[in-house]
Symmetry: C2
DNA sequence: TTTGGCACTCTCACGACTCGAGCGCCAACG
DNA sequence: CGTTGGCGCTCGAGTCGTGAGAGTGCCAAA
């Protein structure tokens, strides 16, 4: 059954108060805060209904009521009026992001930090996957006999580097020839495509061409075989521990353990990239254990045709979504713009 | 006045018990643990003396005694019998470190993690300063008109990269010429020396040679001017919060704030590099506020002639130094050996 | 010099108690 | 019939007192 107008109003009032104070809200408070001009007694009736419908929860008889995850979901889907990002804040985000320079890695780190600073929550950023980026050039440097530094420059200025052990008699000239051969072969393919093509090329070369090219291919294979997990940048873990819901020690430990599960967080952020839109996950909507009391906002950056990565926030379920969703979106848009220069 | 043999024995017993349990130690416990074969009453007398001399501290009348920072200093300087690293543990360290591959950055991160895992404290590593490393080769890649990726390869396989905005009409051939010129000019100088030489070279070129070389120099200057702060890698912050001394919330926050002061931690670790020996700093010996209840073990890696960086542990003052100092030293030695391959 | 004994002190855990917030219910009111 | 004020109830948080336990300090005896 849908909510009546008055129930809606009361629920939103409770939500907004709870988001500010993290404390259960009583009928008196709601009566004062809402613009319904009803007495606490009437509010109590409405609150009782909302409790029955599963939107509110009483920790105990005399403690006021706290919104449930269902209430937050309602808020996000229907009740929330997003609060646009202020000019001051915009300027602040612009400034800090551009202070990081042009390098993707540095910019992303800064983005994560800026997000966590603005929100007092945990900021997260997924870096662009190397696999989707295009091969631009490979360079080899002989560090010492038998040790070669391989540097793969990707479109957009990303760099993948790896040290490789080789046979001792490989010299600088060999490396230059390898480089030329490989650059010719793989230019303008994505790293994923290169990986796919590598095996076939090895077979082809084995039959027709000399040993030399085989070595070159093996070098590349060794260098870039394991580069699969996208990088997750997390910042502001200390922020989150300052919130009152974590003032008790066991909750704090739980929060820390959530932050350690990088792969799970990645999974959640991935969703936002697949669908290329802002996603908010609260409470048990993720099937990630321990995330019950958390909420996560995430949004992709890059373009719909070429999604690059995602940025997001993780915090207690009672985050100020109305304010923070626009902040996350704005950050993503700036990020998109900044990285655009590189492509 | 120096400690008598019996006082020494009692103090060390107290220290070792306190290191294990983090709880003040009573006379009965000492009587049982020590091999003096004295009654609790006699122990009490000795403990009273130690308290007078400043080695022990009573939180309150009936709480047993806890060692002071002075006691720990005594322990470190005179009483401690280092506990050699076990074979199993050695193998474990070897294995995890070599699983990180050959790349310096990855190895150092792994070292920090391994240290924190072995010790259940916070692991710290200072990465080698780029300034001390030798210029091996510079590479330029034109990412798009007006945007150049600069890659400086240093001796040992370290890589410094930076994106630079240039004039739009700079093309690939220009970049190759720039590279040749710069590599010839700076080969086998350290980054610090290059920085010093740059200004002079600019002046020299301004008078005699063409515009082109000037641009090349400016490119390098822009790329590598700001690279000063050595990198500090920290891992295992969650570990430290599990210790009983941080079970109360205000101590926990204090601990977190200590970990955020990266530059201060760096300062402390720097000491160990200057003197090139293992340094243990406890309590107020550093003048760093908030570090009163902490202890830090640090030791350099690399060789005395070419110190590369430092590794260390940060934890509560009652760390198990006897066990952990050898662990830190062993890690540093493995690290030295691994990086040796690169030079 | 060492030891057992004993009185003393202080913390911690537990229970009783009070206070206040908030609720549910109900009767009365417009 | 919705709204309101009132009243009694419940439950948590804080306060106080008490008792147990750990540990000390001191003293007299071995």
């Amino acid at each position: 059954m849908p909510l009546q107008e008055r129930e809606r109003e009361v629920l939103i009032t409770i939500l907004e108060s709870y988001i500010k104070t993290a404390a259960p809200v009583g009928s008196r408070t709601v009566a004062k805060l809402s613009n319904l001009n009803l007495s606490p007694a009437s509010i109590r009736n409405i609150m009782a209904d909302l409790t029955e419908k599963g939107y509110l929860d009483q920790p105990h008889t005399s403690a006021g009521r706290a919104p449930t995850a269902k209430a937050f979901r309602f808020y996000l889907d229907a009740g929330m009026r997003p609060h646009p990002v202020g000019e001051t804040e915009k300027r602040r985000i612009d400034a800090t992001l551009s202070s990081a320079g042009l390098e993707i890695g540095a910019v992303l780190k800064q983005a994560s930090r800026t997000l966590s600073d603005c929100s007092l929550q945990v900021g997260m950023v997924i870096a662009p996957r190397h696999a989707d980026a295009m091969w631009k050039r490979i360079e080899f440097a002989l560090i010492k006999p038998g040790l070669v530094l391989t540097i793969l420059i990707l479109q957009g200025g990303m760099v993948l580097q790896r040290l490789i052990v080789t046979s001792k008699d490989l010299d600088g000239d060999d490396l230059i020839r390898y480089g030329n051969y490989l650059n010719h072969l793989f230019k303008d393919l994505t790293v994923a495509e290169v990986r796919a093509k590598l095996a076939a090329e090895v077979k082809r070369v084995e039959k027709r061409l000399g040993e030399m090219y085989l070595d070159a291919l093996k070098l590349v294979m060794e260098a870039f075989e394991a580069e699969n997990a996208p990088e997750l940048i997390v910042d502001g873990a200390a922020n989150i521990l300052a919130h009152p819901e974590f003032s008790d020690i066991s909750h704090m430990r739980e929060a820390l353990s959530v932050l350690e599960e990088r792969s799970r967080l990645l999974e959640l952020l991935d969703k936002t990239m697949d669908e290329f839109k802002t996603v908010i996950i609260i409470g048990e909507e993720s099937d990630m254990a321990g995330l019950t009391d958390f909420g996560m906002i995430s949004t992709p950056y890059g373009s719909k045709e070429h999604p690059l990565g995602a940025v997001g926030l993780l915090g207690p379920i009672r985050m100020d979504y109305a304010k923070l969703v626009p902040v996350v979106n704005y950050t993503a848009s700036i990020l998109t713009k900044m990285l655009d220069r590189n492509f």
